[in-house]
C-alpha cells in the first residue's frame, strides 16, 4: 500500500517535473497580473523585459546544447563580451556594415567555442575546467584589445549625424529601434534562434546524436555516434551563438563595455536548468530553455515593478533554481520516505 502510494507520488512528481517550467511561467504571470495588472501586461513592458534578456536567452540556447551532452559552458558571458567589443570596434574603426559585422562576431565566438570543444574532447579536460579557463582568458583578451575603455557604437560623422553604418547597427537592439516599427529586434532574434535549434535537435540526426552522447556516451560510441565530433560541434555552436549575441548586446547599450556579459553565463545556465535541462546530460529541450528564460526575465520584471530590492531578487532567483532542480528529482522524495521508515 505504502509502496503503491509512493509510486503514485513519484509519478505525480515526475509529471510535475516535466511541466514545472510551464507551471512556473503561469505562476510568474499570475503574480505579475495580480500585483501590477495592465502595467505588467502592456506590450511595451513585456517587449522591454524580454528584450533586456534576449542576449542571455540566446546564450542559454547554446548552453543547453552543451548541457545536453553532459557538459557545461561557463565561458559564454566572456564570449559575448569579446564579440560585442569586436562588433563595436569593427563599426567604429573600420566602418563595416552590420551584415559584415555579425558573421565576423559569430566566427570569433565559434573559434573560442571550438577551442572549448577541442579541450574537452581531445585533451579530455572536464568542460567545467576548460570553459572556466576560457572565461578568464577571453575576458582578459577583451580588456586588452579595448584598453579597458568602452567603445561606443553611436558613431557620428563630421556632420554630427550618425554614420549610415551606425544608424543601421542600431536596429540590432538599441531600445526603440523596431523591425516594422513593432517587433523589437533582439526578441525576434531570440525566437528565431530557439526555433532553429529546436528543429535541429528534434528533426536532425545531429540532434539525436546530441541526446545520445548525453544519455550514455559509451552506448552512443558503440552504436556508431562520433562522440568527439558531436562534443566539439556543440561547444562550437554555443560559442557561435554567444558571438551572435555580442552585437545585440553592443547595440542594446549603444556601446561595448569591457565588463559586458559578466555573469551572464549564470543566467543562461539558470534558464536552461529551470527549463528542465539536467546537468547530468541527455535531458532537456530548447522549448524548456525558452520558457526558463521567460520565467527569469518576467520574474525580474515583476520584482522590479514591485520595487523589490536587488538583494531579495537574488535570493528569490536562487531559490527558484533550487526548486526547479528538486522538482526534477522524484527520487529525492522516496529517499526521504525511506529515511523516515528505517
Amino acid at each position: 500500500m505504502t509502496l503503491h502510494a509512493d509510486n503514485r507520488m513519484r509519478r505525480t512528481l515526475s509529471a510535475l517535473g516535466a511541466a514545472q517550467a510551464y507551471i512556473g511561467l503561469v505562476l510568474v504571470l499570475a503574480v505579475g497580473i495580480a500585483t501590477k495588472g495592465e502595467m505588467f501586461l502592456s506590450e511595451t513592458n513585456l517587449t522591454n523585459a524580454i528584450g533586456a534578456f534576449a542576449s542571455r536567452g540566446i546564450l542559454a540556447v547554446g548552453v543547453t546544447l552543451v548541457i545536453l551532452t553532459g557538459g557545461i559552458d561557463l565561458s559564454v558571458g566572456s564570449l559575448l563580451g569579446i564579440a560585442s567589443m569586436t562588433a563595436a570596434m569593427m563599426l567604429s574603426e573600420h566602418a563595416l556594415e552590420p551584415w559584415q559585422i555579425v558573421p565576423i562576431c559569430m566566427a570569433v565566438g565559434a573559434f573560442f567555442g571550438f577551442l572549448n570543444g577541442a579541450g574537452t574532447a581531445w585533451l579530455r579536460i572536464q568542460s567545467f575546467v576548460v570553459t572556466l579557463a576560457m572565461l578568464s582568458v577571453v575576458r582578459g583578451l577583451d580588456r586588452q584589445v579595448s584598453d579597458n575603455v568602452s567603445v561606443g557604437t553611436q558613431i557620428t560623422g563630421p556632420d554630427g549625424q550618425l554614420t549610415p553604418q551606425a544608424e543601421a547597427f542600431q536596429l540590432f537592439g538599441t531600445p526603440g529601434h523596431n523591425l516594422f516599427g513593432r517587433i523589437y529586434y533582439p526578441v525576434l532574434a531570440f525566437i528565431v534562434v530557439c526555433v532553429v535549434f529546436h528543429l535541429i535537435l528534434t528533426k536532425t540526426r545531429f540532434g539525436r546524436h546530441v541526446y545520445a552522447v548525453g544519455g550514455n556516451p559509451t552506448a552512443a560510441r558503440l552504436s556508431g555516434v562520433n562522440v568527439t565530433a558531436v562534443t566539439i560541434a556543440v561547444f562550437t555552436l554555443s560559442g557561435m551563438l554567444a558571438g551572435f549575441a555580442g552585437p545585440i548586446d553592443a547595440a542594446y547599450s549603444a556601446s561595448a563595455d569591457p565588463q559586458a556579459g559578466q555573469s551572464f553565463e549564470l543566467d543562461a545556465i539558470a534558464a536552461a536548468v529551470i527549463g528542465g535541462a539536467s546537468l547530468a546530460g541527455g535531458k532537456g529541450t530548447i522549448v524548456g530553455t525558452f520558457v526558463g528564460a521567460l520565467i527569469l526575465t518576467l520574474l525580474d520584471n515583476v520584482l522590479g515593478l514591485n520595487a523589490v530590492s536587488d538583494n531579495w531578487q537574488l535570493v528569490i532567483k536562487g531559490l527558484i533554481v533550487v526548486v526547479a532542480v528538486v522538482l526534477q528529482r522524484p527520487d529525492l522524495f522516496t529517499f526521504f520516505r525511506g529515511g523516515s521508515r528505517s
Binding site: 502595467m39 502592456s42 511595451t44 513592458n45 522591454n48 523585459a49 533586456a52 567604429s92 579536460i125 580588456r143 584598453d147 579597458n148 575603455v149 568602452s150 567603445v151 561606443g152 553611436q154 538599441t174 531600445p175 526603440g176 529601434h177 548586446d249 542594446y252 547599450s253 549603444a254 556601446s255 563595455d257 569591457p258 565588463q259 559586458a260 525580474d300 520584471n301 522590479g304 515593478l305 520595487a307 536587488d310
Partner: protein, 324 residues
C-alpha cells in the same frame, strides 16, 4: 597520475606568473639610480580607472628616473589587492601607489608597507590608518552635492527624481548619494521617487529605467552615479519618446568618445561632473617623495561641472588618446 601532472603544471604556471615581476630598485642603466614604483589598481575594467592608468603612465613619463612597474589589477577583489601590495613590499619598491578596493581589508597591508618604510600614496579611496605618506582623491560628497545643486536649478518648481546607484557597498556610491540628498533638501518639492543599484554599468541601467518609466507617470530627472548609467537611462527614455521631458545628470566626465563630456556636448546629459583621476597629482607627489621634498598629506581634489559651453575645451584638455 595524469591528474597529478596537470596539477603540478598548473602550480608551476601560477608560480611563473607570480614571480614574473621585474627586478627591483637600482637598475643598471649607466649606474644611475632609478626609482621603482608599484601601483595596485582596484579594477582596471572600469573605464574611469583605465583612464587613470593611462594618465598616470603619461604623467610619470615626465620623470625619466622613475620606473612604473606593470600596474597590478586587483579585479575588484580586496584579497587579491592585499597580496599585490605584499608582493610590492617583498620586491622593496621605492614607492607604492594604492587605489584601495575597500578601506578595511587594505588597512593592514598599507600598514605593513609603512612599517617597511615604503612611502605609500593612497589614490582615490581611503584606508583606516594614518600611516601613509599622501592621500590624493576626489571628494564624492562634494560632487554629489554639486550634482544635487544642479538638480535643484534644473527643477525650480520641484519634481520627481530617480537615482541609479553604483554598487551599494562602494564608498563613492554612498558619498555620491549622501551629497546629492543633502543638496536637494533645499527644495522640499523635489522628491527621489525610486532608487536602485545598477552596478555602474549601462547594460543594467537601461532595463531599470524602462521599468521606472512603466511605473511612474512623471519622472523629471535622472541622477546617475556615473555617466554610463545616466546614458543607459537616456537610451531607455529616448526609446519611450520621453527623453525630451527628462533631464539627465551623470558623474565622471571622461574624455573618451562615448564618455560623459561628449554626451553633454550632444545634449544627452544636462550636466556631468568631472571626478578627477588625480593621476597628475600622484605623479608629481611620487616624484617629490622620492627626491625628499615635502608633500601635502591630504590632497583633496575639486570638481569641474561640464556644461555645453565648456565641454569641447574640457575634452581637449583631458583627452590623452594618441599621446601615449
Amino acid at each position: 597520475m595524469k591528474r597529478t601532472i596537470a596539477i603540478a603544471l598548473c602550480a608551476l604556471l601560477a608560480a611563473a606568473c607570480a614571480s614574473k615581476a621585474p627586478t627591483p630598485t637600482a637598475s643598471a642603466d649607466g649606474g644611475k639610480k632609478k626609482f621603482v614604483v608599484g601601483y595596485s589598481q582596484s579594477n582596471n575594467a572600469e573605464p574611469y580607472r583605465a583612464q587613470l592608468n593611462l594618465q598616470l603612465q603619461h604623467f610619470l613619463e615626465r620623470y625619466p628616473d622613475i620606473e612604473l612597474l606593470p600596474i597590478a589589477d586587483a579585479k575588484q577583489s580586496s584579497a587579491t589587492q592585499v597580496s599585490q601590495v605584499q608582493n610590492f613590499i617583498t620586491q622593496k619598491v621605492d614607492a607604492l601607489i594604492v587605489s584601495p578596493t575597500e578601506p578595511a581589508p587594505l588597512t593592514a597591508a598599507v600598514q605593513q608597507a609603512c612599517d617597511a618604510k615604503i612611502p605609500v600614496i593612497i589614490l582615490d579611496r581611503t584606508v583606516n590608518t594614518d600611516c601613509y605618506t599622501a592621500f590624493i582623491g576626489g571628494d564624492n560628497v562634494l560632487i554629489g552635492r554639486k550634482a544635487g545643486e544642479e538638480a535643484v536649478k534644473l527643477l525650480p518648481d520641484g519634481g520627481n527624481i530617480v537615482e541609479l546607484r553604483g554598487i551599494l557597498s562602494n564608498q563613492p556610491q554612498i558619498d555620491r548619494d549622501k551629497g546629492f540628498r543633502e543638496a536637494i533638501a533645499a527644495n522640499p518639492k523635489i522628491k527621489i521617487i525610486a532608487d536602485r543599484e545598477a552596478k555602474w554599468v549601462k547594460e543594467q541601467a537601461t532595463p531599470i529605467m524602462q521599468q521606472w518609466l512603466a511605473q511612474h507617470p512623471k519622472i523629471d530627472l535622472v541622477y546617475g552615479h556615473n555617466d554610463p548609467m545616466a546614458l543607459g537611462a537616456y537610451l531607455a527614455a529616448k526609446a519611450a519618446g520621453k527623453a525630451e521631458q527628462i533631464k539627465f545628470i551623470g558623474i565622471d566626465g571622461l574624455a573618451i568618445p562615448d564618455g560623459g563630456i561628449r554626451a553633454v556636448q550632444l545634449g544627452q546629459l544636462s550636466a556631468t561632473f568631472i571626478y578627477p583621476t588625480g593621476a597628475q597629482e600622484a605623479a608629481d607627489t611620487v616624484n617629490k617623495i622620492l627626491h625628499g621634498q615635502p608633500v601635502d598629506k591630504q590632497q583633496v581634489l575639486g570638481t569641474t561641472q561640464v556644461t555645453k559651453d565648456n565641454a569641447a575645451d574640457l575634452y581637449k584638455q583631458f583627452d590623452l588618446s594618441g599621446q601615449n
